[in-house]
């Protein structure tokens, strides 16, 4: 297929990025009417005269959506316009009821911000600043399902089904300025930027940020220019990029495609392209050479948005800690290795672990419960951790009981499982199940914990599944207990303690 390698591309060209991210807000009602926004309802059940564009209906702005947008702008270091306006973007499409979209054009609500993202490079971690041009509000369209035909697109379809439930869902569009200077790291920077945005939006609580459900969508603009040139190349805009990994792949793929064209002396066509999840390639969409004329003009049905300064400052004061900074802080405070930290983030347990720690639990213990046993049970039940009937308070209590020698790790696991199975709080489970601490085990556990912390490297090996390393620890425990312990029991307890099933 491609004769050109990525190295060939970056030795000759410098990529320039531009990223447009659409975020569906998680407000209860739509942008301009009171209809519900719940995902997955029966088609055309969440509609009204306004979002169906019946003659005579008028839009009214959802104040919560404005608040969410201002929060986003503030979190992205933007200035909030004292006066901004909605505009009509006019074009005909059957799933857009008014045949214009209410959006913002030359007077957006948030402008001139930035986000710093960090990626690993050959020279170690490196930070890139992504400048934000604007953050603006608009409404989503309905959904079309084109039936028949080979492409799934409107042309060639036998008929189309329209669902207006999504029409009018509040959308926020976050547009970067052009991003030069990322060199060979362009794909990683693009991915890291979207990931950072996703984390920030999640921390703000303004969106579900589910790329696979479309509540976070990224359009990646890519162009190439010869290294050293200051003339921008022609860009393509890749849509339909539905995961973080796809962002990276799409940018890389477009860089190679552009370079191949340019090397052959051909021109890059300015067009919309659609990312193909299976091949990682893009295919041509509509050409933008004859730029569509949207005939923007100020929306006369809405008054300008003029948020007062006091409100903005109140919102600014309510901003949560920036996720990446918070992660750094927690990692330091808890002395967590990078890999474990990544695991916690992936499993989305950072909040609950922090909550458990704030209730007095040891950070390492709290982490290992949530990331280990509890995550395992959640997986088994095919639910998320937050859906389990166990709270930070329960785990903090269990950690404390173990620390006091009232529970062994093994018993503690029993208690955790019972709490998850709905048998009540740890205290209630202990009482009803008559769970008693075996004192001998208590003494053994103290020795095991001492040895494990003294020989933490060896203990980590066992934790990571390297069971032969357990021998050294068992020997040390036998020595610690002056040979009076039952080695088989020691082994069982030790392996249990290190998160490995004893056999």
């Amino acid at each position: 297929m491609s004769a050109l390698t990525y190295e060939d591309v970056i030795s000759k060209y410098e990529p320039v990025l531009g990223l447009e991210v659409h975020v569906e807000l998680n407000t209860n009602s739509k942008m301009f009417c009171g209809c519900s926004t719940i995902f997955g309802a029966e088609p055309n059940t969440q509609t009204c005269p306004v979002c169906l564009a019946l003659p005579g209906a008028l839009p009214v702005v959802n104040e919560k959506a404005i608040e969410s947008t201002i929060l986003i702008g503030l979190a992205l270091n933007c200035s909030i316009a004292a006066f901004s306006r909605f505009a009509r973007k006019n074009y005909f499409y059957p799933d857009m009821p008014k045949n214009f979209q209410i959006s913002q054009y030359d007077e957006p609500i948030c402008v001139n911000g930035y986000v710093d993202v960090e990626i690993d490079t050959d020279e170690g971690p490196q930070s890139f600043r992504i400048e934000i041009e604007r953050v603006h509000m608009e409404e989503d369209t309905g959904k079309s399902l084109h039936v028949g035909g080979s492409t799934g697109r409107i042309h060639g379809a036998d008929y189309s089904l329209l669902d207006y439930n999504r029409a009018g869902i509040p959308l926020v569009e976050i547009v970067t300025k052009i991003v030069p200077g990322t060199g060979k790291y362009a794909p990683e920077v693009a991915k890291a930027y979207v990931a950072e945005l996703r984390d920030i939006l999640r921390a703000l609580g303004v969106s579900d940020v589910k790329m696979e459900q479309g509540s976070l969508r990224c359009d990646a603009n890519v162009s190439l220019r010869l290294i050293g040139s200051d003339v921008l190349g022609t860009r393509s805009e890749t849509k339909n990029v539905n995961s973080l990994r796809s962002v990276e792949r799409a940018v890389r793929g477009e860089m190679i495609r552009h370079a191949e064209l340019l090397n052959k002396g051909e021109k890059v066509v300015q067009e919309t392209r659609h990312f193909q999840e299976d091949t990682g390639l893009t295919r041509s969409g509509r050409s933008k050479e004859q730029a569509e004329d949207y005939r923007y003009f100020p929306e006369p049905d809405l008054v300008p948005v003029a948020p007062d300064a006091e409100w903005i400052e109140k919102l600014r004061a309510s901003l949560p800690e920036r996720p990446s900074l918070r992660r750094k802080r927690l990692q330091e405070q808890w002395s967590v290795p990078d890999k474990e930290m990544a695991a916690m983030i992936n499993a989305d347990v950072l909040n609950i672990v922090e909550e458990t720690v704030l209730l007095g639990a040891d950070p390492t213990k709290a982490r290992s419960w949530w990331l280990g046993e509890i995550s395992r049970l959640a997986n088994e039940k095919e639910v998320t951790i937050s859906e389990l009937a166990i709270t930070a308070k329960d785990v903090a209590e269990i950690v404390s009981l173990v620390a006091q020698g009232e529970l062994t790790d093994k018993l503690a696991r029993q208690v955790v499982e019972s709490v998850i199975n709905g048998e009540g709080t740890p205290a209630e489970v202990i009482a009803s199940r008559g769970i008693k601490v075996v004192n001998d085990d208590g003494a053994l556990m103290a020795a095991i914990e001492k040895v494990c912390s003294e020989q933490s490297e060896t203990a980590d090996k066992v934790r990571n599944g390297h069971l032969p390393a357990a021998g050294a620890l068992i020997g040390a425990v036998m020595k610690e207990t002056k040979g009076q312990a039952d080695a088989a029991r020691v082994r069982e307890l030790l392996l249990g303690h290190l998160g490995q099933a004893a056999n």
């Binding site: 169906l52 003659p55 005579g56 008028l58 005909f92 059957p94 045949n99 214009f100 005939r295 049905d301």
Partner: protein
Amino acid sequence: MIKSSAAEMAQSLASGATTSVALTQAHLNRIAEVDEKVHAFLHVDTDGALKQAAEIDASRARGEKLSPLAGVPLALKDVLVQKDVPTTCGSKILEGWRPPYDSTVVSKLKSAGVVILGKTNMDEFAMGSSTENSAYGPTHNPWDLTRIPGGSGGGSSAALAAFEAPLAIGTDTGGSIRQPAAVTGTVGVKPTYGGVSRYGLVAFSSSLDQAGPCARTVLDTALLHEVIAGHDPKDSTSINAPVPQVVAAAKSGDVKGMKIGVVKELNGDGYQAGVRQRFEESLELLAQAGAEIVEVSAPNFEYALAAYYLIAPSECSSNLARFDAMRYGLRVGDTDGASAESVMNMTREVGFGREVKRRILLGTYALSSGYYDAYYGSAQKVRTLITQDFNNAFAKCDVMVSPTCPTTAFKIGEKANDPLAMYLNDIATIPVNMAGIGGMSLPCGVAPEDGLPVGFQIMSPVMQDQRMYSVGAALEAALLSKWGAPLLSQAPSLGGAA
């Protein structure tokens, strides 16, 4: 009974001298007798009106407290949606559509117990000054059936002048309430923009459209004004402030010490002699009533018409985009294999009339990239200048006045093929819409040369609508004592039992 004012009818209802059912039936009978000639109505909701009337009578019999106009019938311009009642906007594209919701104006009318007789004819989507652009045929002026009743709300005004209804609702984007009132010898008021909710008013030009009251007397208009006005959370552009006390103003009619500014630019050349004569006489009557007449100038009014014909079509090109055959109304060419695009194109081709298409094209052009600044952008600047002209003038006077129209009613067909001549008819009414202020037209006599009614326009500052009612009531009283009977008594009989 049907020739009384709405206030008198309300009194008869309150005193038990008549019932709403009887009153409504009388008007339905009149419609049956004369509307064949006038064609004021597109749809008569006989059953709905009688049912509503019966409910009001029942409420009254139970001793419930009713609002002042409860039980009085009204004609509704077909641009305001009423649940389950056909709403066409005078267009084929909406033929057969029954709205699933009530406009705010209709909700307010219903809760005030005003009986809605039916929907009145209009220029298609309110675009026109003669009602000739209705897809369902023109309305005829009761003063002379060969003449236009004005537009776009010719149906509402003709219904009043033909005694088919004592009250009507119109909408006014560039004069569509005031000009029909002027040429039919009735009263029409465009309230301050934002004074009456636009929710459920099918939009022509959102930043200019305003629904308002129409009647045969200033007081009736004021009574209806207070029923339909007020802040509406469903319309972001509606003003959140108390409704001006227009009924009190209409009842007192006191103009002593008021300064009345005559707009220098809205007179003279191009204005019919009889129109000017009746206007001048009215000024004298107002002076005799204690008002001070001053001259004011509005130099930018001369650009108003040109700017209007950029802004209104621009907004209309976007507002009418929703008529795409997908969700409601007409659908043409939906045969096997036809694409959505071709069905939409054919529907719009067949469903829209010539004037509507002309304005969609104009507006689409004016908003296009590369032309926006020169057209839409400049027009908005003119709009600001016109508002400044009004502000400067209102610093010197309490209300401004002019003839409502340059001429009396013209013949049906006379200007149908000359859009520019038609547009010029609104030259004195358009500035009011551009500035969002209030405007009233009331009859001030018939022109000696043709015996047709002349309208007197009063303009008042934003949310000072009560001022035009004071002046209007004063002039109306002075004219009535001069004439000895309402002007409409001079109109020819249309036959029938009235």
